[in-house]
Symmetry: C2
Subunit: 275 residues, 2 copies
Amino acid sequence: MQTKEKPIGVFDSGLGGLTVVKKLIEQLPNEDIVYFGDTARVPYGDRSRETILEYTRQDMAFLLSQDVKAVCIACNTADSMARTEMEKLYTLPIVGAVLPAAKTAVRVTLNRKIGVIGTHATVASGAYKNSIASLDPACTVYSVACPLLVPLVEEGRFHKGDAVTESVLADYLAPLREKGIDTIILGCTHYPLLYDMVASLLPGVFIICSGFASVDYLKNELAGRNLLNDRQTPGKTHFFVSDAPEKFAANASLFLGRPIGGQVKKVSVGQGVCD
Amino acid sequence: MQTKEKPIGVFDSGLGGLTVVKKLIEQLPNEDIVYFGDTARVPYGDRSRETILEYTRQDMAFLLSQDVKAVCIACNTADSMARTEMEKLYTLPIVGAVLPAAKTAVRVTLNRKIGVIGTHATVASGAYKNSIASLDPACTVYSVACPLLVPLVEEGRFHKGDAVTESVLADYLAPLREKGIDTIILGCTHYPLLYDMVASLLPGVFIICSGFASVDYLKNELAGRNLLNDRQTPGKTHFFVSDAPEKFAANASLFLGRPIGGQVKKVSVGQGVCD
C-alpha cells in the first residue's frame, strides 16, 4: 500500500474529537480515518503534564500500530502539553489543535486582543499564548480555564436557553468581554456545541473552533507532501476506544452530527507503558 | 508488628475520600491511615464495570503493598461495582460505602421511601437498591444519577447561595421530592459538601452521608476482630496519589477540613496490570 492510501489517525481523550472527524469527512471525504478516544482515562484537562505526556505517548503508539500516514491531535490538552515531545519521537506529520487556531486568530484579529477558553491544563501550558506571541508579538492573549463546560456539554446541556450553562458560560466569558477581545478561540473539542451560546454572549466577536482550523491545516500539510488519497470513492472511519464502546457509540452522534454507523472496538492502551 | 498495629487503608478515585479520612481520624484518632487517591484516572463514575473493576483491583493491590490491616473503599462507584469481587480475592476486612449507608437508611426511614444520589455507575450498578432490598424488601428505593455535582464541588461551587449548583441540584432532587422520600443517601464522597444545600431543598428528610456510615461500620468490624489499635498516641496518615500530588495537597483541606500537614507521594498503579 502506498503511503497516501493509508488512513489519517485522530485521537482525543474521549468523544469530543468527533467534532474534528465530522469536519475531516466533510473536507476530505475520500480519506480513511482511524479514531481513538481514550475513554478509560478521560478527561485529560485536569491532569499533570507528566501524566498527559504518558497518555499521549500511548495514544500515539496505538495510532501508529494502525499504520496511519499522519496524526491529528484533536485534544487541545494533549496538543498543548505534549506535541513538541511527540514531534521529537515521530517523523510523520502531526497536526495539533493549537497552532492552526493561533494562526487563524492572528489573521483575523483587528485589535490584536484574542481570548482563549480551554481546560485547566491547556490554559496552564501557555501553548496558545506562546504560539500567538511567536506569530505576532503585538497580540495580547487573555485565557480562561472553563472546567465545567465539558461536563455540561456531556450532560446535553448545551442548547440555547439552558439557564445553568448560560450562567456558567457568562461567568467565564465576563473577563474576556471586559478586555474588549475581538476574537476568541474555543480551545477544546467540546466547545463547538456551545458556539451559539458564545456568539450570543460575545456579539461581534470572531469565533474560532480550534479543531476546524486544524482540518484545513492538515489538508494543506498532506497536499504539500503529496499524501492526499487520490481515489474517488468515500473513505471509511474506524473507531477505537479504551472503555465503554457502547456508550461511545450511543453518544457519538452529538459530536459527529450523524450516527456512527459502524462498530466501535475496545482496545487496551495503558499496558503499553510496561513494554 | 502485630496486625492491630498496622494501618487502615482507604482509597478513592480522587480527593473525595478525604471526607471519610476526616471522619476516621475523629472516630479512631490512634489509628494509622494509608490513603490512596487515583488522581491519574479520576473520575470513575462514568466508566464501565470492567474498567472500574480493573482500577479497583490495582488500588487494592497498592494498599495491600502498604501492609494494611483493613481496607475502606471510600469510593461509592468502586464499592458498587467491585466490592463483591474484592471480597473473593482478599481475606482482610473490606468495608465499603454502600452497605453501611443502606443499613442506616433502613433503620431510620419511617415511610420506607429512600432516595439515593450518586454517579452514573453507582446508580446503574443497582448496589444501593439491592442492598436495601436484602435488608428490608418493603422499602422502595428511588435513585438519581447526578454527574454534574462532582465537577461543581471540585470547582468550589458548593456554598449556599451558588445559583448554578442550587439549580442543578434542585433539578436532580425534584423527582425524589415528588416521590415523598423521608430519607436520602448521599452516595458519593463529594456530596457531604452539599449537605446544607440538600437539607434546604429537602426539608425534613433524613440525610445519610455514605462515607460517615462506613466509618462506624469499620470501627465495629475492627473491634469485633480485636483489630483496633490500643496505643494511646495519635496515629499518622500517609497520602499517596497517582497524579499531581501538589494539586491534591492544595485542594485537600476542602475535604479534610484542615491542611494535609505532610507529604503527598506519587505512585504508579496502572502498571500493575501488566505483572
